[in-house]
């Protein structure tokens, strides 16, 4: 199975778990660990909307706009399961109440066993290899944003901040026309000189650089 031919509804539980695990591996290789739970969900969001740049199908193509940023209940359940399986480490777990909601806060990192499983999976099939490479690229691009601006990057993201969507509203970006983030990343093909068209990996970096400029 290839990553591009698997539609979001076709993600099996194993593939969803692998997606979260590879994201954790990408964070490890780009120094984003230990990772705050909120940042994990932001990265899941960026991976979901920027997968279109690679012409890949992500596990989810929608996001609920909320004051505290994106949150994916299913990805959270996957992460919890990976913790139980001993593939992800959890630290500083606590619950906090603020602004009328109760939030779970924690820091995550990949375990030695989790990392070894990633290596094994990426050798096992094209889907896993492509997911590993793409999610590394997402983490690598995100890690170029200065820490002080990173949290704000989602708030100014083109899809997340699009006009006409109130707090609590759901943004569906299954259609390319609604995925403004991917459009923004691809727009750098128009900005670059003809013989220096940025490759897709570089488009992610350019897009994050653009978001940082806005967030600063």
């Amino acid at each position: 199975m290839r990553l591009d031919s698997s539609r979001s509804s076709g993600f099996s539980e194993e593939h969803r778990l692998a997606w979260s695990l590879f994201l954790a591996r990408g964070c490890e290789k780009t120094g984003l660990f230990p990772l705050a739970l909120q940042t994990f969900h932001r990265l899941i969001y960026f991976a979901n909307c920027l997968a279109e740049v690679y012409e890949y199908a992500p596990p989810s193509q929608l996001v609920m706009k909320q004051k505290w940023g994106p949150y994916y209940p299913r990805a959270q359940a996957d992460l919890d399961q990976l913790v139980i399986m001993g593939l992800i480490d959890i630290d500083k777990l606590r619950w906090e109440q603020s602004e009328g909601r109760t939030a779970k806060l924690a820091e995550f990192s990949i375990t030695r066993a989790g990392y070894a499983l990633c290596t094994e999976l990426s050798e096992a099939g094209a889907w896993f290899k492509e997911a590993e490479e793409f999610l590394f690229d997402v983490c690598s691009a995100y890690s170029t944003i200065r820490d002080e601006n990173a949290d704000k990057a989602t708030d100014v993201d083109l899809t997340y901040s699009q006009r006409g969507v109130p707090q609590g509203g759901v943004i569906v970006f299954r259609e390319a026309a609604r995925n403004l983030s991917a459009q923004g990343a691809k727009f750098f093909e128009e900005v670059a000189p003809s013989l220096a068209v940025p490759n897709r990996q570089h488009q992610l970096r350019l897009y994050m650089r653009f978001l940082e400029g806005r967030a600063a």
């Binding site: 030695r112 094209a126 590394f136």
Partner: protein, 353 residues
């Protein structure tokens, strides 16, 4: 990979909702061109390392002579903290360029955001790479830095003998000038390849005049690094290696956007003439390089400078008048550089141009 069907491309570029062209242009100017193709993880690491080292030298240039060599290691097969179990964590290097980094080997993430260091007594870059092999990490990617020599040695092929040097002493800060290309190529040759003691180690047995198997690739990488970090002012021009075009694969290409937004470029086709094959075969190889270079020039109108650089590893330093004449008919600039080894001296004055 099987991409989805290409969507119809609108002839008019449009700006996505919420974005402005100046914002996008500003991001592009800050981030730079990027490479022709996406980088693998270890290539990202090498790129990030070299960019960091360039900035580190900018900030520590005068003090660098007294700082001990150090090395960064990137291993894709294990977590960064597991590479050297006895290592201690250091403050992130990604935005810190302090001078006190010498005398250690650092296991690092791809972007130097997280580093774990161990002390080392290795006094040179080759010694640091040997330490890598001894630690069972020969398959890892590493960048060893000699502050005293303002050089780095990049190891990425599993064989420390294939490491290529990167110089960090800039040649001024002006924008890249294509008319100086010849002088840059000559300087590169003198420093790296004119003798077997040069900075680029392409001989497996210099006394027997035996070249390494992948000498051409090693020269390509070294020349790219030379232009990138010694010659090109950061982001004033872009240099690529092994560019795929309709006319075949270009070895090295430099392009620059002129103030009027048009492009200007140079293409360099590199060939290594071997001591183990006949003169006829070497001549064929050289002429093949001329043909390749000429084809590139035909396929785009921005290539103003086309070079064939023959690094001559034959046993006798003899001119190649047939190749010189052929290159002239194709409007390709021919350069032959004879590489000396013990008992095989250079005798032709100049570069056979």
């Amino acid at each position: 990979m099987t991409p989805k069907k290409k969507k119809a491309v609108s002839p008019e570029p449009f700006v996505p909702a919420g974005m402005t062209f100046p914002e996008a242009q500003s991001a592009f100017n800050r981030e730079g061109y990027g490479d022709e193709v996406p980088k693998a993880e270890n290539e990202v690491f090498v790129h990030e390392c070299l960019e960091w080292i360039a900035q580190w030298f900018d900030q520590n240039f005068s003090a660098a002579g007294a700082i001990k060599p150090f090395m960064f290691v990137f291993d894709t097969t294990r977590r960064v903290e597991d590479v050297f179990p006895e290592a201690q964590i250091y403050q992130s290097f990604s935005r810190s360029f302090e001078s006190g980094v010498g005398g250690r080997i650092y296991s690092s993430t791809a972007n130097l955001r997280k580093v774990y260091g161990v002390a080392t007594t290795a006094g040179t870059c080759p010694e640091l790479l040997s330490a890598l092999s001894k630690a069972g990490l020969a398959a890892a990617t590493a960048v060893a830095v000699s502050p005293e020599k303002r050089m780095a040695l990049v190891h990425s092929n599993g064989d420390p003998n294939d490491a290529y040097p990167v110089p960090f002493e800039h040649l001024g800060t002006k924008d890249f000038d294509f008319t100086q290309l010849d002088a840059y190529l000559a300087e590169f040759f003198e420093a790296h390849l004119s003798t077997h003691d040069g900075l680029c180690d392409i001989w497996s047995k210099p006394s027997k005049r035996t070249l390494k198997q992948y000498a051409e690739r090693q020269i390509q990488k070294t020349l790219q690094a030379f232009f990138q970090y010694r010659v090109l002012r950061k982001k004033s021009a872009k240099i690529d290696r092994e560019i795929q075009t309709h006319a075949g694969r270009k070895d090295l290409r430099i392009i620059r956007v002129k103030p009027d937004r048009t492009l200007e470029g140079a293409v360099m086709e590199l060939k290594v003439l071997r001591p183990t094959i006949s003169d006829e075969k070497n001549l064929e190889w050289a002429i093949d390089g001329v043909d390749q270079a000429a084809r590139y020039t035909k396929t785009d109108d921005m290539t103003a400078y086309t070079y064939v650089c023959c690094y001559d590893g034959r046993k006798i330093d003899a001119p190649m008048p047939t190749a010189v004449a052929y290159a002239k008919t194709k409007a390709v600039t021919w350069r032959r550089y004879f590489m000396e080894t013990p008992q095989y001296p250079r005798v032709v004055n100049g570069f056979d141009s």
